[in-house]
């Protein structure tokens, strides 16, 4: 037929065009690897699966920090058609304007196709009401979310809390796979054992669609890695003892630390004022945190490891040990104290006792806490003829102190521990213009004053080595980890190592222990006695530049087989025997007898109710409350926007109670007397109604 050749042309065109298409397909599918990556970025959603954090147990395997489920109310805005808005608002306690505002916020943040948080961590009550009405609210779901919980509401400063990581944290932990929005331990054990508690994160890959909605798992999870739950910590803490300590320290500023000298395991570490750690979980976290941080009594401050106190008389057993070991005195050495130490001329150290013979031997002097005796012993140590100068003598003495764990960090398993202070010779050289000082200049170091500072933890640790007659273990909370591996054992070995404290002989320790036993038998702390238990103790009444003396007490018991060593400090509370001693005594009884005898229970109440908060801090609370009240009144009066001018005044009157807890303000007289200043300001009943 005619034009037959054109058939060939057409066929060739067809084939040619198909070849061109094939070449482009080759180009796209074989030679451009870029499209694969783009496709993955498009469609594969990598979700980090967070494992449950490890649980922290006390010594009797009671969980003191565990996980619970709380619920976020999530909403997918484009699915909320038909939701009973009024009912939702009624349950949530918001108005429709707020509802709409949150909805718009969700859409802006997360588009209307994806679920976003409508209300985070709703309370139990709201959860219950929502749950039974959920059918009314299409588009809303309650999503569970693990939250930390503290069943005993105790030991907040020890256990710490988790919080959202910040950029500094991310910079420091680049290798650990944290990302913005993750939670990590911020303080306490949560922080120092973060790596163990957090477990191992898993990655779940899923397919998402063009609107970022999840469509199902990718390759049936072939590339997913499972999350490994965090491992549990088994601590030496006794939560009941901890609760008792916190109760006894109520309405006081101070700290109590109890250690098992046999292991170095800390039994209780209380600091006061403290806070309910459950305040820092859940939806109110931010608000509560803000309040706690601004609180002038600093409830977030762990005084047990960061509070630095002059040890006062509680130092005397250590002074005695140095002198005994140096061979400067024997247990029978006596000193004629006439009520004060006059040997240094201008510097006179007063003694509480005047009766002759109260310092006739080490035993008597220690049990009666004779200042003259220990001033003298200290001078002997510094002016020891074995060393060329007082400076040399001092260095030797400082070496002892450091070996006792004073003036050095003990490296407990809590973050930001302070090391107290045993001054360096350089410090004195600076003050005295060179090495021209002598034992008289630094005399009060001998009775735990001058520049000597120790944390309650260090004092408790000192009791440990005296109880153990020469060694201590690094104080720590965590005894063992769940599924401990080699790496962990290496890590934990520092808490299981015995620290030998020089080579002081057992006889010297016996002498000191005997004297300390007398403290509760016939000495300064007879009141701390517990029938049937030999308590070796030492009271301390530390003068301090901030006001009334601190009340201190250190002890260990039972004498022959010590299982508890304890240090208690109550700020500005006067004699050691008055407040610190009974607190320690009750704690020892609780620990050793597992209960407190009925006849001493009223004592617990009496002590815990005793209000020893310095007046300055009370004033701060009073002013804060009155400002709040004034603001409320103003609002009612003017019926307009609140005026915040008063906030300036708040700043003016805040001051650091740590620096000057006992400052006497001129207007202390007209402070509202309040029973307990450490109650949450929000919970206080309003004295005037807001609306007429």
């Amino acid at each position: 037929m005619y034009n037959q050749s054109r058939s060939r042309v057409i066929q060739l065109i067809f084939i040619a065009v198909f070849l061109v298409i094939s070449v482009q397909l080759l180009n796209l599918q074989l030679f451009s690897s870029d499209y694969k990556i783009q496709a993955e970025n498009n469609a594969i959603f990598r979700k980090v699966v967070y494992p449950d954090r490890g649980i922290i147990y006390d010594r009797k395997k009671r969980a003191v920090l565990e996980n619970t489920i709380m619920y976020d109310l999530m909403v997918t805005p484009n699915e909320t058609k038909g939701t009973d808005t009024a009912a939702m608002c009624a349950i949530m306690g918001i108005d429709t304007t707020e509802y709409r505002k949150r909805m718009i916020g969700c859409i802006i943040k997360n588009t209307s196709y994806k679920p976003s948080v409508f209300a985070p961590l709703v309370s139990q009550e709201i959860y219950a009401r929502l749950n039974e009405n959920m059918f009314k609210f299409p588009g809303f779901i309650l999503q569970d979310r693990p939250v930390r919980t503290y069943p005993y509401s105790a030991a907040g400063n020890v256990l710490g809390y988790v919080g959202e990581v910040d950029t500094t944290f991310l910079r420091k932990h680049k290798q650990d796979g944290y990302q913005m929005g993750d939670y990590a331990g911020i303080t306490g054990l949560e922080s120092s054992y973060e790596k163990i508690l957090m477990g191992q994160r898993g990655v779940k890959r899923s397919i998402r669609d063009n609107k970022n909605r999840i469509q199902g798992s990718y390759e049936n999870g072939a590339f997913d890695t499972a999350a490994l739950a965090g491992r549990n910590l088994y601590t030496s803490m006794d939560i009941e003892l901890q609760q008792l300590a916190e109760k006894l320290l109520g309405n006081k500023i101070g700290s109590a630390v109890a250690i098992n000298p046999k292991t170095g395991g800390i039994l209780a570490m209380a600091t006061s004022p403290t806070y309910d750690p459950n305040l820092l979980t859940g939806s109110e976290r931010r608000k509560n945190y803000g309040r706690l941080v601004l609180d002038t009594a600093r409830p977030l401050f762990n005084r047990a490891i960061k509070g630095q106190y002059p040890p006062g008389s509680t130092f005397k057993p250590m002074g005695a040990l140095v002198a005994l070991d140096e061979g400067l005195i024997t247990p029978s050495y006596g000193y004629g104290c006439g009520g004060a130490y006059y040997a240094c001329g201008g510097i006179v150290v007063k003694c509480e006792h005047h009766d002759a013979g109260h310092a006739a031997s080490l035993r008597l002097a220690l049990s009666h806490s004779c200042n003259s005796y220990f001033s003298n012993v200290f001078r002997m140590a510094i002016d020891n003829p074995a060393y060329k100068s007082p400076q040399q003598g001092y260095l030797k003495w400082k070496e002892y102190m450091n070996a006792f764990g004073l003036g050095v960090r003990l490296n407990i398993d809590l973050p930001s521990e302070d090391k107290g202070n045993i001054p360096d010779t350089a410090a004195y050289n600076r003050d005295f213009g060179g090495p021209r000082w002598n034992s008289c200049n630094i005399l009060t170091l001998g009775i735990g004053q001058d520049r000597m500072l120790a944390t309650p933890l260090q004092l408790a640790n000192a009791m440990c080595f005296i109880a153990n007659k020469g060694y201590y273990y690094t104080p720590h909370f965590v005894d063992s980890l769940e599924n401990e591996n080699i790496d962990d054992t290496v890590y934990m070995s520092k808490y299981r190592r015995k620290h030998q404290v020089t080579n002081i002989s057992a006889e010297d320790f016996d002498a000191v222990q005997l004297a300390m036993l007398d403290v509760t038998v016939s000495g300064t702390a007879v009141a701390a006695q517990i029938p049937g238990i030999d308590i070796c103790a030492k009271t301390g009444t530390a003068q301090n530049p901030h006001g009334k003396n601190h009340s201190l007490f250190v002890a260990f018991a039972p004498k022959d087989n010590p299982t508890i060593a304890i240090a208690v400090v109550v700020e500005n509370a006067g004699f050691g025997a008055t407040w610190a001693a009974p607190i320690a005594s009750l704690m020892i009884e609780k620990y050793l007898n597992d209960t407190i005898s009925a006849n001493r229970l009223p004592e617990v109440e009496r002590i815990s109710k005793a209000d020893l908060i310095p007046a300055a801090i009370k004033h701060w609370y009073a002013v804060k409350d009155s400002i709040k009240l004034a603001k409320l009144l103003k609002q009612v009066d003017a019926d307009k926007a609140p005026v915040f001018e008063n906030t300036v005044d708040t700043k003016k009157i805040t001051f650091d109670p740590e620096a000057e807890p006992n400052r006497r303000d001129s207007d202390t007289g007209n402070i509202n007397k309040q029973k307990s200043p450490i109650i949450k300001p929000d919970e206080k009943p309003l004295k005037k109604p807001i609306k007429k």
């Binding site: 067809f14 198909f18 298409i21 796209l28 599918q29 498009n42 063009n210």
Partner: protein
């Protein structure tokens, strides 16, 4: 009529075409299934609930099968006899669309049939046009070497296209251009196709190359032509004028016509689609219609090449062997818009990779070449022209659709024959192919 009643319908039927048809329709349904598949909601029963696209397509396929049998049972003389009548009916239907038309996705080319089904007359009109063109070209008194006949044939082919353009269905209109392949086969001077291609090349060059550079290149080409043809030019002065006229035309197109068309005739999104097919970005602020909209204080959304980008990602991520049936992440994630209709090829490309695409295109090529083979064995000019019409329409649809998904052609809404979701499209191609099969079965008869 009597001849078909006592002969089996399978007699003389070209089974290869029917098998290819069946395979392609099945692939189509599976592709639509891939696009819609959701493991959480899927049950085997959902193939027959008719509320999903794949089950609807299955229904359409069933209807098409019945229709195919009906066509095979019919008498082939019917199609020659009523070709012109059909054509008039088709044109009337398209005109009716302007009155009854329903607006779907911005195009007014649908007539609602009720029950959620809509008819697109422009699709059906392809059949009628093919028949009418075959009828006209096979007339004994048609001398296709005459320009008048060529003009009439072109008018028959392009009238529905003009109506389609008026319905804002530029893509469907373009499909009618494929009839020029038929006309070429029947004696249309090759130069017209060459001129057509040259024009296309010039437009693409205009978009690709900076205007002044292109003008210089064109001038150089013209000068070189004159230099090499100086002997002929000396002998034949008008040749010089022709060359200069062509040069002037080219430069005119390049400097004025193309920018004018892009800025004043096309909508902003259309210009952008053409630009993005060659990998460039179109500045919408030059566009007249966009300026008008801005003037009417409507917000003009800048169209982007999202479709092509996602389509290329989906196909490109398939690799050599693809991700496997139902394992395409881009398909599951619905990243490619209109994936069940115009972009159905992407699901195939992602799931089965280069090998799959190559085999799939191979099926198409076999079908096309088979139809040409069938065409050339016809005794009747009507059947031959009709077969070429079908080959051309199929070829045009396949090439434009596939090229559009792989970024070689601007996006125009043209379905992939037998694969894309859509009853109108499937029905049209079924009828087109089975009329051919019917005609081919009667190839011994001389039809007019």
């Amino acid at each position: 009529m009597s001849s078909s009643s006592h002969s089996s319908i399978s007699k003389g039927v070209d089974w290869l075409v029917i098998w290819l048809y069946a395979i392609l329709v099945s692939i189509g349904i599976l592709c639509i299934f891939m696009v819609e598949y959701n493991p959480d909601k899927f049950t085997m029963g959902s193939f027959f609930t008719f509320n999903t696209n794949y089950s609807k397509q299955l229904l359409f396929a069933g209807i098409c099968a019945l229709l195919a049998i009906f066509i095979l049972l019919s008498d082939s003389k019917l199609y020659t006899a009523f070709a012109n009548l059909f054509y008039v009916f088709g044109i009337l239907l398209m005109l009716a669309t302007f009155v009854l038309g329903k607006d779907i996705n911005g195009s007014k080319s649908w007539i609602p049939l009720g029950g959620g089904f809509n008819l697109q007359p422009a699709e059906l009109c392809k059949i009628f046009t093919a028949l009418a063109l075959a009828k006209y070209l096979s007339r004994l008194d048609t001398d296709f070497s005459k320009t008048k006949s060529q003009a009439i044939a072109a008018a028959i082919a392009l009238s529905p296209a003009v109506l389609s353009v008026l319905q804002h269905e530029a893509g469907l209109a373009l499909a009618y251009l494929s009839f020029f392949i038929v006309m070429y086969r029947e004696g249309l001077p090759g130069i017209i196709l060459v001129i057509g291609f040259s024009f296309g090349a010039l437009v693409v060059a205009t978009l690709l190359i900076e205007p002044n550079t292109l003008a210089i290149i064109l001038t150089l080409v013209a000068a070189a032509t004159i230099y090499f043809m100086r002997r002929q030019v000396k002998r034949d002065r008008p040749l010089l004028i022709i060359i200069i006229a062509i040069w002037g035309l080219c430069v005119g197109i390049q400097r004025f016509a193309v920018p004018y068309i892009f800025n004043h005739v096309f909508e902003c999104y259309q210009s952008q689609r053409i630009y993005s097919a060659i990998g460039k970005d179109y500045d919408c602020s030059q566009n007249k219609s966009a300026q008008n909209e801005v003037a009417n204080s409507k917000t003009v959304k800048k169209p982007d090449d999202y479709n092509v980008r996602q389509s290329k990602i989906a196909i490109g991520s398939g690799g050599i062997l693809g991700k496997g049936f139902l394992k395409g992440t881009q398909t599951r994630g619905k990243y490619v818009p209109e994936q069940h209709t115009d972009f159905i090829f992407t699901s195939l490309g992602e799931a089965f990779g280069f090998v799959g695409c190559f085999l799939f295109l191979g099926l198409y090529l076999v079908l096309l070449l088979r139809i040409i083979f069938i065409a050339e064995r016809q005794r009747s000019a009507f059947s031959r022209v009709y077969a070429y019409c079908i080959a051309s329409i199929l070829f045009f649809h396949i090439v434009v659709n596939v090229c559009m998904t792989i970024g070689l052609f601007p996006i125009i809404g043209i379905p992939l024959p037998l694969i894309s979701y859509g009853g109108s499209s499937l029905l049209t191609f079924t009828v087109l192919i089975f009329i051919l099969v019917r005609l081919d079965a009667d190839r011994q008869m001389v039809l007019r």
